[in-house]
C-alpha cells in the first residue's frame, strides 16, 4: 500500500494509537518516577534490609527483558491466582523496568550533592526524611533531567510491549501488526509508526532540554 492509501484507510487508527502510546508513556514514566524515588530512598536509608532490598530490586528490573516480564505477568501470575487485565500488565512492566533505571539516575544525580550540604542539614537538626525530601531528592532530580529525558524516550519505546497482548485501543506497534494482518501494509505501515515514535522522542527531548535549562542548579 502507498502512504496515502494507508493514511486514508487507517489514519484515524494511527492517531488513536499515537494517543495510546502517549498515554502509556506518560503514566509509565510517572509511575517509574514515583517507584524509582521510593526505591532510591530505600537504597540510602539507614536501615540495612531496606538498602539491600532496594539494590536487589534495581538489579532485578534493570536486567530482566521487558517481554519476559510481560509474559510473567500475563501468563505466570494467573497460576498464583493473580490476574491483572492486559493494560495493567503492560503498565506494570513499563513502570517496573524504567523505575530501576530511574533509581540509577537518581543515585548518580545524588553524587553531585556536596557532602557538606548533608552535614549542614544534619547540623541544623534535620532528620532523615527532612533531609531526603528537602535536599537530596530535589537536587538529585534537578541534576538528572537529561538522563531522565532519555529514560522517558526509552519508556516510550518499551510501551511497544503493548503489541504483545490484545490491548484495546492499540498502541503504535500493535497497530502495525493489526494493519498487516488485514491488508498488505508492508514496510510503509512500519514507517508511519516509526515516524510517530521519532517525532514523540524529539518532542520529549526538546521538553527535557528546556526543563534542564530551567531547573539546572548553579554551582
Amino acid at each position: 500500500m502507498t502512504l496515502s492509501q494507508l493514511l486514508t484507510q487507517y489514519g484515524d487508527r494511527y492517531l488513536q494509537a499515537l494517543f495510546t502510546t502517549w498515554q502509556l508513556t506518560f503514566f509509565s514514566f510517572l509511575g517509574a518516577l514515583a517507584v524509582g524515588i521510593l526505591v532510591t530512598v530505600f537504597r540510602v536509608s539507614p536501615i540495612r534490609p531496606l538498602r539491600l532490598f532496594g539494590d536487589f530490586y534495581v538489579q532485578i528490573f534493570r536486567n530482566i527483558p521487558g517481554a519476559a516480564l510481560l509474559i510473567l505477568l500475563v501468563y505466570a501470575l494467573p497460576y498464583l491466582k493473580i490476574t491483572f487485565p492486559y493494560d495493567a500488565c503492560v503498565l506494570i512492566a513499563t513502570i517496573l523496568i524504567p523505575s530501576a533505571f530511574c533509581s540509577e539516575h537518581l543515585m548518580s544525580g545524588m553524587n553531585t550533592i556536596s557532602p557538606g550540604q548533608i552535614e549542614a542539614a544534619r547540623a541544623l537538626g534535620m532528620n532523615f526524611f527532612q533531609l531526603i525530601r528537602r535536599i537530596v531528592i530535589p537536587q538529585s532530580l534537578r541534576s538528572a533531567v537529561l538522563p531522565m529525558t532519555n529514560l522517558m524516550v526509552a519508556t516510550m519505546l518499551t510501551t511497544s510491549l503493548g503489541s504483545q497482548v490484545p490491548l484495546r485501543p492499540m498502541e503504535l506497534t500493535g497497530i502495525v501488526s493489526y494493519i498487516n494482518t488485514r491488508s498488505a501494509g508492508g514496510v510503509m505501515a512500519f514507517a508511519i509508526s516509526a515516524a510517530l515514535y521519532c517525532m514523540t522522542g524529539l518532542l520529549i527531548g526538546a521538553a527535557g532540554s528546556w526543563l534542564d535549562r530551567k531547573v539546572r542548579i548553579l554551582r
Binding site: A121, A123, G125, R134, I135
Partner: protein, 253 residues
C-alpha cells in the same frame, strides 16, 4: 562578656581514632556560657574533628561530651534536637545549592522547629539584615560572593536560636578582602554574648575576641591560655614554632 560559670560544652577525656591515627587524644575542654574559645593549631592536628564531634557529625571512641550538662544523645530524635541547638558554620559554607538564600534560612526553622512560614520569613529577613546580605535574599548561593555566602550561612545557623555556635575555619576559603566582613559578623555575635567555639588562624580576631585560646597539635591540647598570654608568651616550643610560621605567612601576604 557575661561571666557565667555554667558550662555549655564540656568534653571529658575524649579519644577518637581514624584507623591507626589517634586524632583526638584525651581531650578535655569546657566552654562556659557566653565564652568565646578559639582553637588554633597546624593542619591535621584534629581541630575539625573536635568541632564535628561536638554535634556528633563524628562519633568518638571513648570519653564524654556534654551539652548543657547532658551527654550527647547517640542517635534519633534526641540527637536531632540537640544538634538544632548547636549552630555550625563550615569552611565551605555548605548552603543548599538549589534553594534561595531566604529558603536556606527558613528551611530548618519550618521543618525542625515547626515555625510558621510567615514568622520564619520575617525572622530570616531580620537575620539577613543583621549579617548584611538582605538584598541577596532572592538569589541562589552560587550567585553570591564567598563572604556573602558565609554570612548567609551564619544567619542560617542563627535562625535555629542556637545555644552555642561552632565555627570551623569560617574564613579559610575566602579571598582576603572578604575575611573582614565575616569576622565582623562573628565579633558582633560574640559581643552579643553568644557562646562560641572557633577554629581559626586569624590571630587578630583571636586576640580581640577570644576569652581563651587553645593550641592543638597531634591530636592533643598542648596549650591553653588567655589570648594575651598565649600570643605574647607561648609556653611550649611547638606553639612558638607554629606562631612564628603563621606570622611569617601573614607577612608574605
Amino acid at each position: 562578656m557575661t561571666e557565667n560559670n555554667q558550662p555549655v560544652i564540656e568534653l571529658r577525656q575524649v579519644n577518637k581514632h581514624f584507623g591507626d591515627l589517634h586524632v583526638l587524644q584525651d581531650i578535655s575542654l569546657t566552654v562556659k556560657k557566653g565564652e568565646v574559645v578559639v582553637i588554633i593549631g597546624p593542619s591535621g592536628s584534629g581541630k575539625s574533628t573536635l568541632c564535628r564531634a561536638i554535634n556528633r557529625l563524628e562519633t568518638i571512641d571513648s570519653g564524654e561530651i556534654l551539652f548543657e550538662g547532658e551527654p550527647l544523645p547517640r542517635e534519633g530524635k534526641e540527637l536531632a534536637q540537640m544538634r538544632a541547638k548547636i549552630g555550625m558554620v563550615f569552611q565551605s559554607f555548605n548552603l543548599f545549592a538549589h534553594r534561595t538564600i531566604l529558603d536556606n534560612i527558613t528551611l530548618a526553622p519550618c521543618d525542625v522547629m515547626k515555625a510558621s512560614k510567615k514568622n520564619a520569613r520575617q525572622e530570616a529577613m531580620r537575620l539577613l539584615e543583621r549579617v548584611g546580605v538582605a538584598d541577596q535574599a532572592g538569589k541562589v548561593p552560587a550567585q553570591l560572593s564567598g563572604g556573602q555566602q558565609q554570612r548567609a550561612a551564619i544567619a542560617r545557623a542563627l535562625a535555629m536560636h542556637p545555644k552555642a555556635m561552632l565555627f570551623d575555619e569560617p574564613t579559610s576559603a575566602l579571598d582576603p578582602e572578604m575575611i573582614g566582613e565575616v569576622l565582623n559578623v562573628m565579633t558582633e555575635l560574640a559581643q552579643d554574648g553568644m557562646t562560641m567555639l572557633v577554629v581559626t588562624h586569624e590571630m587578630n580576631f583571636a586576640r580581640r575576641v577570644a576569652d581563651r585560646v587553645i593550641f592543638m597539635d597531634g591530636g592533643r591540647i598542648v596549650e591553653e591560655n588567655t589570648p594575651e598570654a598565649f600570643f605574647s608568651n607561648p609556653k611550649t616550643q611547638r606553639a612558638k614554632g607554629f606562631l612564628s610560621s603563621v606570622r611569617m605567612q601573614d607577612r608574605e601576604l
